[in-house]
Symmetry: C2
Subunit: 310 residues, 2 copies
């Protein structure tokens, strides 16, 4: 059963944009911050005619229709993807394999499948396992954007503007499918970067997955202390920002950590080894060593900020 939005938004502007890409009907699986923001942006840009949403949380889907983010929804994923020209999977990476199994036989032959999974090797592996091969219309993707909030109410059309989208096409991926997905992201203001999937996972382990693990771990350690109450009461802005990512969705991050386990362990071990050296220097009152590390870190971070002011 497909639940229709009562009030349809005018279709004229959208039809004009959609013909260029040949994408009329889009199915978004997982209408949260990522899927919802994608839906809002492609709708606002007039790129598609119809957006159907799919997810497990009925209340969230109803909200998404009420907010005009999607036109209608189905909780039967194999029904939701029928007739879709493009399927965007924006659920936690651990759920993607099961979704693929359910949609495999309902997809239009020409349907493009793309995703927003935070790890890419595991998603590609899931596709290979379920389909038995890599479909040429499959374009693995990962938008480098987000906030610590979740759910369709946290979504907003500008989330991807001036943000990077990493696509990790395979040798089987068709140039046509890659081009459509690239132009779709570009049309909503994002920059597309192509990368090898394994390399993506290594880079993201360093810059995103490891920081999340450390933030979760630190906040957890502090909650176990007797002084817990006072610790949080006396925390300042530095602590608030350092731990912002510890407010992220635990289920999503459980999935990401497990899916990118090997790259994450590699970077975690490098980090721990360097941290041990810093600990030893501190123990030995080796101020010069501390200063060298702090100075190098500050220089890198300041350089990074100078290039990325927003």
């Amino acid at each position: 059963m497909i639940h229709q939005a009562k009030k349809m938004i005018e279709q004229d502007d959208k039809a004009a944009g959609s013909e260029q890409l040949g994408i009329k009907r889009v199915c978004i699986i997982g209408v949260g911050l990522i899927g919802g923001s994608f839906a809002r942006a492609i709708r606002q840009a007039g790129l598609v005619e119809h957006i159907i949403g799919c997810g497990r949380n009925t209340e969230n889907l109803k909200k998404a229709v009420a907010l005009g983010v999607i036109d209608d929804y189905s909780q039967d994923v194999s029904e939701a993807v029928k007739d879709a020209d493009l399927v965007f999977i924006a659920t936690p990476v651990g759920s993607i394999k099961a979704i693929l199994a359910q949609i495999k036989n309902s997809l239009k032959e020409s349907a493009i499948i793309t995703d927003a999974g935070s790890t890419k090797v595991s998603v590609i592996h899931a596709v290979k396992t379920i389909f038995g091969y890599i479909p040429e219309n499959f374009v693995p993707g990962h938008p480098i954007a987000g906030t610590e909030n979740s759910g369709v109410e946290a979504s907003f059309a500008k989330l991807y503007q001036a943000h990077r989208i990493i696509l990790t096409p395979l040798k089987q991926t068709s140039a046509q499918a890659l081009s459509v997905v690239t132009r779709l992201w570009q049309a909503i203001g994002a920059y597309v970067v192509l990368m090898d999937a394994q390399h993506h996972d290594s880079v993201l382990a360093a810059t995103s997955h490891l920081p999340h693990l450390l933030a979760f771990s630190l906040v957890n350690t502090l909650t176990t202390l007797d002084e817990k109450q006072e610790i949080f009461e006396n925390a300042a802005g530095g602590f608030r920002d350092f731990t912002r990512i510890a407010s992220s969705d635990p289920n999503m991050w459980q999935d990401i950590c497990l899916a990118n386990k090997h790259a994450l362990l590699t970077h975690l071990d490098l980090f721990s080894s360097d941290l041990d050296a810093l600990r030893e220097a501190l123990k030995q009152d080796d101020g010069d060593y501390l200063n060298k590390i702090f100075t190098r870190a500050k220089a890198s971070r300041d350089e990074f900020m100078a290039k990325k002011p927003t």
Copy 2:
């Protein structure tokens, strides 16, 4: 030699406020973010008649006069504190002992000495070493406020508004000195909290010093990787916030880490031990354990944010 500001600001309003606290002349040693913001705030509140600055960087002091943050300056610290009713030491904790040695014989007998050192046990130890006893007019303090920026140009009058100021008075501290310092902070919009010095150092090690050490260490580790360039290019908002404190002043943080070495090592070891357990769970694909840690961390962090929205 004292360098006068060419244009003096009207004194009428200030005189009215200053009489209540009996503080006419204030000497600020270290006119950076912390000292400069304190000067701006007490001047704006009309609490004092005259503010003299002292520091090593002549350019910074000249800027402070030009900006109206201080009335004049001297780079001879023993001269700067002469006739001051209150001396506010806002330099990195590692420099406080040497400053105390220089000002010891120039202070007015009634002068109140307070500081903004991020660690308190080490500052108290320095006072005891230099004076041979704890002067009753010494009120150790630590404002829980700041940004990652430094220098007088980064200072602003509202820095302390609605922020905590921890004072760690000793049994020798006079109620009169404690009262004046407390009311001075309150008058510029801060909340004063009293705490035992050792307890302060433990709480701050957890909530501030350890996060700084981790942020510096992580950014340093990433700079040593071959993928360094790509890692920073593909970093998102989460990384930016997590590493904000790694843009802090390396000299100041070298001092803090060394000054609070024992409490910092204790918390670092707790953190490392918990992180090792998380690593082991990840290695064993123990998703339930990861989820438990992440969920507890998110709950604590969300609770902290609900109480501290700004």
